[in-house]
């Protein structure tokens, strides 16, 4: 029979181990809002953005420091895009309207034009604001754009059209950046305002 001292230690350790086990199990079971996105995929752990510098339509600088302290949804497109871009921006406008109606915080929305040849920062801003007055827009030259898009896996390329103009093939994913300027979630097309709003409401409430 061990000494009473050793028995006490054993019992204390056993109870501590059980308590720790229960705590860990509770932690594993706890539902995480960001892991359960209906409209997209959470990036866990969130991936820090690499430095970039673009120009906002209202003459500010769009860079990592602007993203810090707020949630932002990034959408990449171009103003001469008749179908997907207006459709997505209209959906985003609908999404933020739903969040506002629910009294939920809303993310900032930044439309990044990947067609700087035709879209000046001001033109991109006017285009984005047409869908919602709060939308921001930014652009920059090709190398500056690629500093942001490449690490995020966003593609874009000019494609000539028979009529003499060109279109821009581009990724359609919506990227959610968290207040630490980290990629927190990716929402793939097709985008649905109701589902997106529900996901965003949960993520922003949790933050």
């Amino acid at each position: 029979m061990k000494s009473r001292y050793q028995l006490t230690i054993t019992l204390v350790l056993a109870v501590a181990a059980m308590a720790a086990g229960v705590a860990v199990q509770r932690g594993l079971d706890a539902p995480s809002a960001t892991a359960a996105l209906a409209a997209g995929t959470a990036i866990v752990p969130p991936r820090p953005l690499t430095p970039f510098s673009l120009q906002f339509g209202d003459a500010g600088v769009f860079d990592k420091s602007w993203l810090e302290g707020r949630h932002t949804l990034l959408f990449f497109g171009f103003a001469n895009c008749p179908d997907i871009c207006p459709t997505t921006l209209a959906t985003l406008a609908d999404t933020v309207e739903r969040l506002r109606a629910a009294g939920s915080p809303e993310p900032a929305v930044v439309f990044v034009s990947v067609d700087p040849e035709r879209d000046t920062p001001e033109a991109a801003r006017d285009y984005a604001r047409f869908f919602d007055a709060s939308f921001h827009a930014a652009t920059g030259d090709d190398p500056a754009l690629k500093e942001l898009t490449k690490p995020l896996g966003i593609l874009f390329m000019d494609v000539p059209l028979g009529s003499g103009g060109y279109t821009v093939d581009h990724s359609t994913a919506l990227l959610l950046i968290d207040p630490g300027a980290r990629l927190a979630a990716v929402f793939s097309a097709p985008h649905d305002a109701e589902t997106l709003a529900r996901d965003l409401e949960r993520v922003l409430a949790e933050a």
């Binding site: 008749p82 179908d83 207006p86 459709t87 209209a90 581009h170």
Partner: protein, 151 residues
Amino acid sequence: MPPRCRLPALLALAFVAAAGCSRPPALAVTDAWVRPLPPGQHMTAGYLRVRFNGAAGESARLTGVESPLFGAIELHETRLVDGVNRMRPVAGVTLGAGETVEFAPGGLHLMLMRPSDTARGATEIPLVLHFDGRDSVRVQALVGQRGPDGG
């Protein structure tokens, strides 16, 4: 009416009635709408539904669209390939008997270019759809923003 004229009159009436008799048009274009032109932009998209009520074995081919309010209209198709949006021109759209083709966000769409001054503030855009070897179909497209399902 003199008795002599009654039969011819009746026959004439019968012909007129037969001609005016409603028969479903071979081509029905419905739910046409156009997104409003954003400020400073000279191009926008149009959508609609086309149904061909032809007899079995018949087909109809949409080859172009025109509007007095736009200098040029092209047929395009959006294709999402691995998450990348690719928009490509389409030469024409063939409909088989009884087939309906939808021009909707994320798919087939009209690209309306070179807007006239009137186009910008218009609430309706008149469209003329041209089909190979068939009469054109005229339709009024309503201007407005809609969601991805066209609703």
